[in-house]
């Protein structure tokens, strides 16, 4: 009896240790980045596990840098516009793919899925030429254009799955009333699609906000860059003189909005991720 309750207790302890390990493993690096960002450059050389003093000097440096603020603005602009375009084109495509049975429907779906697997490097030189031709080199609009390569397939895929689940009576009623397809889509279906649109929009926003390769390749000057590139390019005199405090402050500034978004929309994001991958 005693050994049984003892082993039960041990099991409980082990379980909570595991939970603790998961939490520490997930959150410690971000916690440590915040900790580092609040240090002065002299304090960087002593290793601390807890906050000993608070200095906002790194944040002042980062936020007083015009190019960094500009990068934040560029990132916000690029991500938002990418989301709007992906949702708009994704919605119309999902209506066709989800509500109409036509020849080639399966082929289009497979093509969309295939594009979402593209290695970005494989289109780099071709896309570079297209962007030069559109005269968008070193322009955030080039990023909006190129980001649709990964946001659009995903949006189409998830919205189509969602669209297929909506009751057909809705559409029948709209057709009997003589509503055109556009009206049916935007006034009958779209109000019901909001949950799916919020989810896919968020995921597209995060993907666009985090993108690096295209942003690095298609922009040239500081004032056109997005935040990931700006952070990647912060450098000191040499690898040993990197301004780690400033890098961490910039990292925290960029990440905090995302973490807040993710924590608020936790459930939606999880359902979007699973709809995109598992149901696919």
């Amino acid at each position: 009896m005693l050994t049984k309750s003892l082993s039960k207790l041990l099991l409980r302890v082990a379980f909570w240790m595991l939970i603790l390990a998961i939490i520490v493993f997930s959150t410690f690096p971000f916690y440590y980045a915040i900790l580092t960002s609040l240090k002065t450059s002299e304090q960087l050389f002593s290793i601390d596990y807890i906050l000993t003093s608070v200095h906002f000097g790194n944040y002042q440096t980062v936020l007083n840098q015009a190019s960094f603020i500009r990068s934040l603005g560029n990132s916000l602009f690029v991500s938002t516009l990418t989301v709007v375009i992906s949702l708009l084109f994704g919605l119309t495509a999902a209506y066709a793919l989800g509500r109409v049975e036509f020849r080639g429907r399966g082929a289009v779906l497979l093509m969309v899925l295939g594009v979402s697997m593209f290695p970005q490097v494989a289109v780099l030189s071709g896309l570079f030429e297209v962007i030069r031709w559109l005269n968008l080199y070193n322009n955030p609009l080039a990023l909006v254009f190129s980001y649709t390569i990964f946001t659009l397939p995903f949006t189409v895929w998830v919205l189509t799955t969602f669209m297929r689940q909506l009751p057909k009576e809705l559409e029948e009623a709209a057709i009997v009333d003589g509503a055109s397809p556009i009206v049916t889509l935007f006034q009958v279906f779209m109000p019901l699609m909001w949950p799916a649109m919020v989810t896919t929009g968020l995921l597209a926003f995060i993907a666009a906000w985090n993108e690096f390769l295209f942003a690095l390749t298609f922009t040239l000057t500081d004032d056109q860059r997005t935040v990931p590139v700006a952070i990647a390019l912060i450098s000191g005199g040499s690898a040993y003189e990197l301004p780690w405090g400033i890098i961490m402050a910039a990292s925290v500034v960029v990440t905090v909005p995302l973490v807040i978004l993710v924590l608020i929309f936790q459930r939606r994001i999880v359902s979007g991720l699973t709809a995109g991958a598992v149901k696919g």
Binding site: F45, L124, S125, G126, P228, V259
Partner: protein, 317 residues
């Protein structure tokens, strides 16, 4: 889907045919913006990249180039082999990428299952833990590379401090510079960043499982570990497989993490890093495109495997 025929049946017979044709025409019209965009950002650029790989194009002047056949891939000239396929650095990149993919995806799957099983249990504060594991996923790859770059710093890094306190190592280690360690450093950061994805997908699969077979196993007094291998794992295997393939395709094209954590070091260079270096830094669009094309075909093969599985799943729902 029987939507269209049902709608058609509720219409007068004379309208039925025209309505169907109209709907199909409408469908293509609604598809066209998406199709046009994908053609412009994916289809056409891919064809151009493959085209460029047979030329000596240069980034400075993309209009002026000559067709040189397979010279970017492999050519025998004056007693020596040249081209991507004869470049030891390319093969190193291939080896690095495959090693990275194999090790990190295996580790993520293993850890992801453990985290998912833990989160599948009922306990106080479960929502909080689930929120916590989303944090690594939400952090931009560049930021996590920078954060870990600092934690892995050879002189002032906290990881060396922890390991030295625990007695794992006797003196500080140069994680990102040491040729034997840098790939492991990259893998460690990738595992940290993508285990949440694996865990959440596995958790979703776990939560869809029917509870009756567990109750039966519990009544029969079967050991939980046995239940996991005999019941749970086979049931979540299809979903797990899709998640693994998803991650494999993602890992094969890895770029950001390696580029920021170890820059262009040959010890960790992936196929994407190699291709971009040729393309952008050395301005050699022809050669870089040849490397990109090879990478594309590696991934296309894997994608075909995924599509095959995906199609099977589509048929089942």
């Amino acid at each position: 889907m029987s939507t269209k025929s049902d709608i058609a049946q509720s219409m007068p017979a004379s309208n039925r045919l025209s309505l169907l044709t109209q709907r199909k025409r409408m469908a293509w019209l609604f598809l066209s913006p998406m199709m046009l965009v994908l053609l412009a950002v994916a289809g056409w650029p891919l064809l151009r990249t493959i085209g460029f790989s047979f030329t000596d194009a240069n980034l400075g002047n993309l209009h002026d180039y000559q067709f040189i056949g397979f010279e970017n891939y492999l050519v025998y000239e004056a007693g020596e082999w040249y081209g991507v396929l004869a470049d030891p650095l390319w093969w190193r990149a291939v080896k690095n990428t495959l090693f990275f993919t194999l090790v990190s995806v295996s580790a993520e799957t293993f850890l992801g299952i453990i985290v998912a099983l833990t989160l599948n249990a009922q306990f106080k504060g479960r929502a909080l833990v689930r929120a916590a594991i989303l944090i690594p996923w939400a952090i931009p790859t560049i930021v996590s590379a920078r954060m870990w770059g600092w934690m892995l710093h050879d002189q002032f890094g906290i990881l060396n401090d922890i390991f030295m306190t625990l007695g794992f190592i006797a003196e500080p280690v140069a994680w990102t510079a040491d040729a034997n360690l840098s790939m492991w450093a990259v893998i460690m950061v990738d595992v940290w960043k993508t285990t949440p994805f694996m865990a959440l997908l596995t958790l979703a699969a776990l939560q869809m499982l029917p509870s009756d077979c567990y109750e039966a196993a519990k009544v029969d007094g079967i050991h939980p570990v046995r239940v996991f291998f005999k019941v749970t794992l086979p049931l979540i295997a299809p979903a797990l497989m899709v998640a693994v393939i998803f991650r494999v395709l993602d890992a094969l094209r890895v770029f950001d993490l390696i580029f920021v954590l170890t820059s262009n070091s040959a010890d960790t260079m992936s196929m994407s890093v190699y291709a971009r270096q040729q393309l952008v830094e050395f301005q050699d669009v022809g050669y870089g495109s040849a490397a990109s094309t090879l990478l594309f075909f590696v991934i296309a093969l894997c994608t075909l495997a995924y599509l095959y599985l995906g199609k099977k799943r589509m048929e089942s729902y």
